[in-house]
Amino acid sequence: MDYVFWTFGGHVPGSFIRIRQGDLVEFHLNNHQDNKMPHNIDLHAVTGPGGGATSSFTAPGHTSQFSFTALNAGLYVYHCATAPVGMHVGNGMYGLILVEPPEGLPPVDREYYVMQGDFYTVGKYGDEGLQAFDMNKAIDERPTYVVFNGAVGSLVGDKALTAKVGEKVRLYVGNGGPNLTCSFHVIGEIFDTVYAEAGTQASHNIQTTMIPAGGAAIVEFKVEVPGTYVLVDHSLFRAFNKGALGMLRVDGLPNQLVYSGKEADAVYLGKAAGGTESEKRVAALKAEVAAEIKGNPRIANLTKEIQIEKGKGVYMQTCFVCHQPEGQGVPGQIPPLAKSDFLMANRENTIRGVLEGRNGEVTVNGKKYNAVMAPLNYLTDEQIANVVTYVRNSWGNQGDAVSPQEVRKLRSEVTAPAANPYE
């Protein structure tokens, strides 16, 4: 889909500005002559009326200048404050400015800039074509999209953040809003240090930190175990249904002591099996009926149809963001599932791919792809069986049904780190 953003400097969020406490900053705001709107800037790092907004109100084709001394260290949001403010911010006019303490921040191996924002379009999530800003949804605080860095998928695949095992990572995380508070969480990591609300107070061993609209946080952690770590707004429907998902890919040697991977998978029977003789007899007869039904090809076919219908639901929640609604993929980035030779060549491979994720080059219909697919092993055996049956029987593909038993068997063989967001 396409969207006309309003931006500082042509991207969302705007440039990361980095200064030191005590600096005297001369600030110029240029408003391009083709713009229709006057704009200004409120830097939360500025002490003074409007944070600079009153001094930087600029007509199209003009430029404004003001100066400020950075009195307080911290990580601050900046945004446009021209009426209607919510609309200017809701269209993407925000970014972060870091005021380092005079001695600087302690060194780390990696620093990244991540900023969440909520967006309001007339169409639904995923609707194609040019989407207009929807003022009513914005007023009702019903975002269509909640994203990091201005777009769904801005931090996934080959745009994922990266680090190596043993490195210390610092994330500068902001929230432009305009409406939502972010519950920032990295799945599979614990923040060693959080400067909550980007103040000077360091907290340690934090799982999820709240970032208010118009606020920020600095989070730091050392990565010990290789794998893909998923950045989310832990208000989870935003993450999985509106786009607030990013990835940190950590390369390096496994550390079995910190994280073993799956060590055992045995049958768990729940309550003690058995029961009275009569109950056992009924259970045996039911099993016989089930086997008889299963053996009937007509019923087997209907069962497959049910799986396809259910699988479509799973697909539209989980898979279509990358693989697209018609399984067509994204040229050069995400391999297609529709009429895919790779997909149809090996069903076991497909199930493993869903369970373990994928990483590395594959050739699909003669084209090479090299994207990362996160493990989806939080899906149940039945959900995976259904969705694989669906993709193997859609968009020109024709294949047989996959049973939950088959998925269960393969699940016991794979050892991917858990990616269950509900851990």
Binding site: V4, W6, H32, Q33, D34, N35, K36, M37, P38, N40, D42, P49, G50, A53, T54, S55, S56, F57, T58, A59, P60, G61, H62, A81, T82, A83, P84, V85, M87, N91, A132, F133, M135, N136, I139
Partner: protein
Amino acid sequence: MKPTRTRLLLVFTTCWACAAAGAAVAASNAPAGMVVIASGVFRPLFASPTDSREVPVSPFCLDALPVTNGDFLEFVRANPGWQRSRVKRLFTDEWYLKNWAGDVALGTNAPPAAPVTFVSWFAARAYAQWKDKRLPTTAEWELAAAASATGPDGKNDPEFQRQLQAWYSSPSGKLANVGAGRPNYWGAYDLHGLVWEWVSDFNTAMVTGDARADSELDRQLFCGSGAVGARDVTDYTAFMRYGFRSSLKADYCIHNLGLRCAKDL
């Protein structure tokens, strides 16, 4: 003579709701090229208890089209003091008629039928006087521009509002010729969708630049005046027009800011 901003005027101008009264006056009353806008009433959204909640606007004539480069070329030929190289710097900034090829030459970037832009308020006013007309007031312009294609007040017409918001949301590229679209209810073209237009009292819009401070000021008035229809708070295009006007100074010349003239009936 820099225009001063008068605080008192705030109450009239921050946001208008408008409703036209009376039927459209026959177009034959208007001079050539102008249309008649029937009398109407403005209801300022933020009015103090002592101010009138309704501001009447008398019927007036308005140019059917924005002033074009071709029109303005005639003006500067007749008034050499307003030619680009001769204009007094006090009255225009250095962008005056920037897209023209020369003092009396339009060139390829200023087609004769496209709206004239890069003109200051002083230049716009001088043009209107030369035409024996005047610039419309904010109230007059807002009344005329409130009309959709089908009615005098498009404020509650979601499709009309959507079109306006779409225009405000996208940058101006090359400007189209005037009169290309559909006329509004009064027969005027291009009040929306082509260029911004100067009004005589543009500098009375008291938006200080920090919109939140403005609403702070307004809220006191808001509370004092009791319940005001919440529907007006969503008139975001009006906010944008007031925001734009309040960003201007009288010598500014801007890529997408032109003019049209008004005249008493």
